[in-house]
Symmetry: C2
Subunit: 283 residues, 2 copies
């Protein structure tokens, strides 16, 4: 399925990679972008993966059949409200945000009848943010959640799923609520643990970190992630993150208690359960 | 400083790498090994980094001036007791064990007057254990703790430090107690957290792990470590591990409470503190 007119609003690393993948893989006949800053708009005009750059989001979506809202989570809703009245009735919107439940509800409420929002969350990123770092293959073989709300029209869901599949991603359809529960466990919980471990070790002599092997290096790697992005994610997914943290805290406490009580049979069972689970990862 | 007669008892990955590094870097004039299993002794006889293979540990240490006890932690003490009476008065012993306080006390108590034990802990390893996987450069640029007990004779400490430095390691001298406190934080705590996180996620749908990005992959990598080795480490360093877990649990709980209470200023401070610490790692 080829999109006639793809519009990417507020491209950063992910949005620019969407446009570049669409051009490289022939997913869209025409690609229009809009960026908030004039100097970014000027730079985008020079890009071969960009057919037109609009001065405003409202102008950008004129005649769009697929709009990608690539802004940070809290700016997506106002952007949807802004462009809503300018969208054709058959237009479909998607996004790249890390949290979905609250967002999908609010974007749907912000849109007039007609256009449909089907959220998406590609599990891709890189050490560098910013549209200049976009690549054609950022989504290749990466999971992309597609999160239709209950009762979403099938053609719109299919269109969004097909588009993301076209970028090379492995599309995983789940409800917005289930998405938030899953990522709270597999993404937000590891981030919280890495942050807490790094913050705890920061209270000890600084040269300790240079004495560590690769274990500490790996377990704390994501503690270096961008704080502003994570504040937003924790805000948006607070309930599920707190629930996942409570479950994991109980697990850590139980391991601690069994080490303290010298219950080595239990400690062994926990070490083995963790190993079996981790060994089940794809290589 | 060149060792005249180096003896490595019960070589696994680390012990074999000690012998290979010593041969490759000319650290010893003569290298004798002993292994418990006859078929390993037969295989060792074929190795160019092995001048002699003894039938018993007692025979192996005859005329040794540096003995490396490469056995697992709980076998080191009995090995020291066994070879003690057969050591020359000037002989120096070292080891490769992950925990030091209790071990250093017990080995010292197991030895007759004369020979001196200066513990060591090279922060090196690999996915594969077993002497066949030993390499000449396993210790290169890796930290190696050298842990002299209080009042240890300087020549013995210098000899052990110089030997480990000779293998390419960066020697870090600390007391046995301080060693155990440091590794409880930088090695045993990350292992416990990775095990608990993996064990917690193992209670959720198994396909979730395939939806995760590299963050979860990194934070749980060491959960796949050998359970038997970790039981021993937790047993040997129980008090310090429990203390480190208590401190880290308080930190995780505080982050959780502040997310729950929407105290985003505090959450931001914690994210930033973790990032600053992690950014301070050597590349």
């Amino acid at each position: 399925m080829i999109v006639d007119h793809l519009v990417v609003l507020a491209p950063g690393l992910l949005g620019a990679s969407v446009a570049r993948a669409a051009r490289a893989r022939g997913l869209a006949r025409r690609i229009t972008l809009w960026a908030r800053r004039p100097e970014v708009r000027a730079a985008l005009r020079e890009q071969p993966w960009c057919d037109a750059v609009a001065e405003t989001p409202e102008l950008a979506v004129h005649g769009a059949d697929l709009v990608v809202l690539a802004a940070p989570v809290e700016r997506i809703i106002e952007l949807a409200a802004l462009v809503g009245p300018h969208l054709a009735a058959g237009a479909v919107l998607t996004d790249v945000g890390s949290v979905k439940g609250e967002l999908c509800r609010q974007v749907a409420a912000a849109l007039p009848p007609g256009p449909v929002f089907i959220g998406a969350h590609p599990m891709a990123g890189g050490a560098h943010t910013g549209w200049e770092h976009g690549t054609t293959n950022l989504f290749e073989k990466r999971v992309c959640f597609v999160t239709p709300p209950e009762g979403a029209p099938t053609p719109a869901v299919d269109k969004v799923a097909a588009f993301w599949r076209g970028t090379g991603a492995e599309v995983v359809p789940v409800s917005p609520a289930e998405h938030d529960r899953i990522v709270a466990h597999i993404s937000h919980l590891p981030q919280a643990l890495a942050t807490a471990l790094a913050g705890f070790l920061a209270q000890h002599p600084g040269d300790w970190r240079h004495l560590a092997g690769n274990g500490l290096r790996d377990t704390t790697r994501i503690a270096a992630s961008d704080a502003t992005m994570w504040i937003e994610i924790f805000q948006q997914n607070r309930t599920e993150v707190v629930r996942a943290l409570d479950g994991c805290l109980a697990e850590i406490q139980a391991l601690r208690d069994n080490i303290a009580a010298k219950d080595w049979e239990d400690v062994r069972a926990r070490l083995v359960a963790g190993k079996v689970w981790r060994d089940g990862f794809r290589p």
